[in-house]
Amino acid sequence: MCTLIPDEMSIVSSLESVGEYVELMRRVMAPPDRVREFFKEFSKEVYKLGVNSIWLVIIISFFIGAVIVMQIAINVASPLLPRFTVGVVSREIILLEFSSTIMCLILSGKVGSNIASEIGTMRVTEQIDALDIMGVNSANYLIMPKVSAFVFFMPVLVALSMFLGMFGGYIICLFTGTPPVSTYIYGIQFFFRESFVWTSILKSMIYGFIIASVSAYFGYHVKGGSLEVGKASTDSVVINNILILAADLVFTQLVMG
């Protein structure tokens, strides 16, 4: 378990971990034992993983959006560039990278560690064994609602983050006048490509799957006690971040390149 950690990495153990992950996902993707129970858990997870993350998304998106506009306004102050460039550049940063990738890196800390520690604690307190003894597919029962709920709710979080990021910039323009509000609004509308929004949402759904499934893998394979649960939680965040960045690189090259 947890052999994907860079300092412990060896080719064989990494391949074993990938194999374990694939095997776990095979069990997760099986049809639920009871569809009614799946939807019950799904709705709980939408609230726990998605709705409970809204405040974090609101605060971070608003402030980072505001800072992006301030930084660009300061650093792109050139007579050769029109002032609405601030709006254009801020929009592209927020739409393409911040609201999907950076927001998911942040959410992996909250949601990823939550999933890994919850499932890890269930493992060490024999709750997962209890499910197995009853004949319940524990991987499917515990992980599938989390993965699907987080992927399902991700577009809501990303759309909210996009709106609030640009709203943060709007407030900065309103108070500082650099650039003026009308110029900023013109900038964020200038040469707007709707496809960027959909690309960003699609990216975030992929990252959502990575966060939920990788964290669940770390939690599900915990052996030991509370120390190991803590380690699994930390490891899941580290690995999620690496995988999200790698996926971002690949996705950007494939879609935008």
Binding site: D33, T125, I133, G135
Partner: protein, 264 residues
């Protein structure tokens, strides 16, 4: 009827269960006893299919579980109830929801019937008053009782208990023992209890299996355990002062009876 034949389990080259052959009495409380590290829990986990043995057979009514397909194993599991050492109640569910869980997953009852059945099980273990509490809000003894209620919710044919008395005071431990014994009798269940508590053994054990370092050293009834001619079993049974004194008193009574008969 559960029969075990030539069961061997190794962990990284270390033999934990060494060629165990035994059978468990139907409709009785079967106890697996032994000191810590003797392989009791591994044996129990092999019996319920949580651990795959290296070799040997575990037969439920003639069907070997080591050769069962996943679907058949899943069906068999519905005949099993398990009480874990730490209770293993689901933290996110109330006591009533915990007991209803196996019914929600596997029964064809409607909500009202499921609730009624769960309430009956809670009443059976005297825990109706705690139905709406979460596991973190109840005591260790209550958690064990809730776990027993959950284990019997689906009317299992086999009840497995891993150290049901660990962490409980003597009075509560006795209550749990009596509950296991009563449920075994009332529902005609075959119970298999792992324990190292001799009080439990003498209280409820119908068929006792003694493991020592992975080897089945002795098997018999509780009436014979005090007089068993097995050095390792005697070491285990008479490790406590109480049982030493009982043995000493028993010997004195026997000697007095014998001398009385001679005089007479």
């Amino acid at each position: 009827m559960i029969q075990v034949r030539n069961l061997i389990k190794e962990f990284e080259g270390r033999i934990v269960l060494d060629d165990i052959t035994t059978s468990f009495k139907k409709g009785a409380v079967n106890m697996i006893i032994g000191k810590s590290g003797s392989g009791k829990t591994v044996f129990l986990k092999c019996l319920i299919g949580l651990i795959q043995p290296n070799s040997g057979e575990i037969r439920y009514n003639g069907r070997d579980i080591t050769e069962m397909r996943a679907r058949e194993m899943k069906r068999l599991r519905r005949d099993m109830g398990m009480l874990f050492q730490g209770s293993a109640l689901f933290d996110s569910k109330t006591v009533l929801e915990n007991v209803m869980f196996p019914l929600d997953m596997f029964s064809r009852m409607n909500l009202r019937e499921r609730k009624k059945r769960a309430e009956f099980c809670l009443e059976r273990v005297n825990l109706s008053h705690a139905a709406d509490l979460y596991p973190s809000e109840i005591s260790g003894g209550m958690m064990k009782r809730a776990a027993i209620a959950r284990a019997i919710a689906l009317n299992p044919r086999y009840l497995f208990c891993d150290e049901p008395n660990s962490g409980l005071d003597p009075k509560t431990a006795q209550l749990i023992d009596e509950l296991i014994s009563d449920i075994t009798d009332d529902f005609g269940i075959t119970s298999i209890v792992v324990s190292h508590d001799m009080n439990s053994v003498m209280n409820i054990g119908d068929n006792i299996i003694f493991l020592n370092e992975g080897i089945l050293e002795w098997q018999g009834s509780k009436d014979k355990i005090m007089d068993a001619n097995n050095e390792k079993l005697n070491e285990f049974v008479f490790a406590s002062e109480l049982f030493k004194k009982i043995k000493a008193a028993d010997t004195i009574i026997s000697e007095n009876n014998a001398s009385g008969q001679e005089v007479g």
